[in-house]
């Protein structure tokens, strides 16, 4: 059940994103910039964790 639920949830999220895309590109820009910046910045936390290992 879980194996199907997660991808289906992601699919719904992506469908909404595609619909959202038509209306608000600036918002979508902010989402993608946030994903990239946060994920790379999170690596600083990972680096700190590795340092303290």
């Amino acid at each position: 059940m879980l194996g199907g639920a997660i991808p289906n949830g992601l699919l719904t999220a992506f469908r909404r994103m595609s619909a959202f895309r038509k209306g608000g590109r600036v918002m979508l820009d902010l989402i993608y910039i946030a994903i990239g910046v946060l994920l790379i910045a999170l690596m600083g936390v990972y680096a700190d964790a590795c340092r303290r290992l």
């Binding site: 989402i31 993608y32 994920l39 340092r51």
Partner: protein, 569 residues
């Protein structure tokens, strides 16, 4: 397979080795900040960069600060490259008037180029302005490669120093790698490519009349300058969607040899430079021999499988004498195509001279395995060296377990912390590749992107995530990756494949640098001989072949047997 074909392969590899020896000496000097032949010209330029950025070149960083500097640089690079694509319609050097790149595609492309992947979900000739190509993409071809080289040398310094708190300065490594190593070779290489017929112009396109009288718009642009650093920096992002298979990017066998040489030369030289930097060239030689055996084994598999051909095509009446020529360029032939396919996936280049999707199942298996292992023989600029040194650490750990002694490598004791960090790095790859591939095969929106069904479709998905995760960027070509699902997940695979891998590597560098260098004793496991080479290869087989065996069995292996029984996908 023919003698002539193997001779072509041998000539390219010999040219790489011949150039790598002097280049390795030069790399060691540059990364140590010693004076070189180019210093009178480049030193003032280098110092002006430091003055402009407020960098003190004499001040080294701890591994943690080095990592933070790399992360800060990557964040800034990501935001500027994303913005450049989204605003290209308002910026100069857009002679064809291209629209802004779509947000999901801009995200994917920005991540792709800052991570040295160059996965392309777009056709450059119809999507990117000249400014985006030159200022955005080509610039990152230099700096992402130089960053990789810097990180590798942080690890090399950790081995060569005793009880040190620092591993180098990220900003200095980045500047020196770009300015002294990549830029001069690129200038010479671009001129050679122009001589070979690769265009270099700021014009956008021109119209031609075909023999049938139709009008055809032909895209041109600053190709030679992008082409050389695409290979030299093991980037792989082509000006055209067809990449190095396009006759403008790679017009003939001569340019093909230059490009094949360029994508191997810096990674090979870096390995020899590692040996020189740690004060024992034999250490670098042993690692290089292990890499070379794996590389040549891959070429052997692909060359054999492609020349053996596809029995289904033979049954249709296609002349089998040339082997499987589907998706290949006649001007390169089987041998150079096989070498390029394996070399581009053994390094993290990802440029292609043929469509890997059209290879026979076993012919495509070797490039796919190279990707799954993280492209480390000889690997990307810097990335291959630190990737293989991680394997070396695991290898000496395994040897230590077998003989019951504390393992050591290059005089540094390998203890629990180092092995944990090495395993963090190694295990992130299967987690990403198998995790995202598994999610994709369950999603109809992802399956709709496939060009083929059955095991070949599975190979297309695994190849895409393996390629992006290993920061390679080559595509199997049957998968349409330009969808919100793949643009986003492949982007995440690239980010995690680069940063989640290199963070523990740099932490490992910090840990090793702090240790005292112990002199070799009678109980030290020798890491320069054939036994160590065999152990390295054995560890790679155990680590990677077993990790991915189920995926490979369900993809190319089962497809091979189905092909023999007359079924295609």
């Amino acid at each position: 397979m023919t003698i002539v074909g193997w001779s072509q392969i041998a000539i390219v590899l010999a040219l790489v080795l011949a150039a790598s020896i002097p280049l390795s000496k030069y790399i060691v000097k540059v990364m140590a900040g010693e004076r070189t032949l180019l210093s009178p010209v480049l030193l003032p330029v280098e110092r002006s960069f430091y003055r402009l950025a407020g960098v003190d070149e004499t001040r080294e960083q701890t591994a943690y600060v080095y990592t933070l500097a790399m992360i800060a640089f990557s964040v800034a690079s990501f935001v500027t490259l994303y913005g450049l694509q989204r605003l290209q319609n308002m910026l100069p050097l857009n002679p064809q008037g291209f629209d802004p790149v779509a947000p999901d595609l801009a995200f994917n492309t920005a991540v792709s180029f800052i991570t040295n992947t160059n996965w392309q979900n777009y056709s450059g000739e119809t999507t990117m302005s000249h400014l985006t190509q030159m200022l955005g993409l080509t610039t990152h071809n230099f700096v992402s490669a130089a960053a990789g080289l810097g990180m590798a040398f942080a690890l090399v310094r950790a081995f060569s120093r005793s009880a040190s708190t620092t591993v180098g300065n990220f900003w200095v490594d980045l500047t020196r790698g770009s300015l002294y190593i990549l830029l001069p070779i690129s200038i010479i290489g671009a001129l050679l490519l122009i001589l070979g017929g690769v265009p270099q112009t700021l014009l956008g396109s021109f119209d031609a009349t075909t023999l049938e009288g139709a009008k055809q718009t032909i895209s041109i642009g600053p190709m030679a300058s992008q082409e050389i650093i695409k290979e030299l920096g093991t980037n792989g992002g082509g000006f055209f969607n067809a990449n190095s298979a396009h006759p403008f990017e790679n017009p003939n066998a001569w340019t093909d040899i230059i490009e094949n040489w360029a994508l191997l030369v810096v990674p090979v030289a870096s390995v020899l430079a590692f040996g020189r930097a740690v004060g024992d060239l034999r250490q670098g030689r042993a690692v290089l021999i292990a890499m070379a055996i794996l590389l040549v084994a891959g070429v052997l598999v692909t060359y054999w499988a492609e020349t053996a051909g596809n029995p289904l095509l033979t049954a249709l009446g296609v002349d089998p004498s040339q082997g499987n020529m589907e998706g290949k360029e006649v001007r390169f032939g089987q041998a150079l195509t096989s070498l390029f396919a394996v070399a581009t996936t053994s390094t993290s280049t990802g440029a292609v001279v043929a469509m890997h999707d059209s290879f026979t199942p076993l012919g495509g298996l070797a490039p796919l395995f190279n990707l799954l292992a993280g492209c480390i023989w000889p690997g990307g600029v810097g990335a291959g060296l630190y990737g293989f040194l991680i394997v070396a650490i695991i290898a000496v750990f395994v040897a230590g377990l077998m003989v019951g002694r504390t393992p050591e490598y290059l005089g540094k004791k390998i203890e629990a912390r180092e092995v944990k960090l090495a395993m963090f790095a190694v295990l992130i790859y299967p987690l990403i590749v198998l995790g995202f591939s598994g999610a994709s095969v369950l999603l109809q929106t992802a399956l709709d992107s496939l060009g083929n069904s059955g095991p070949h479709g599975l190979s297309e998905i695994i190849y895409a995530f393996a390629s992006t995760n290993a920061n390679n960027g080559s595509a199997f070509a049957g998968l349409n990756g330009n969808t919100p699902w793949f643009n986003t997940t492949l982007g995440l695979a690239m980010l995690l494949g680069r940063f989640a891998y290199v963070v523990p590597v740099l932490a490992l560098a910090g840990s090793l640098a702090a240790k005292k260098k112990a002199p070799a004793s009678a109980g030290t496991f020798p890491t320069t001989g054939p036994l160590f080479v065999g152990l390295l290869i054995g560890v790679i087989v155990i680590l990677y072949l077993l990790q991915y065996f189920p995926a490979l069995a369900l993809g190319p292996v089962v497809e091979h047997y189905l092909m023999l029984s007359g079924k295609t996908f």
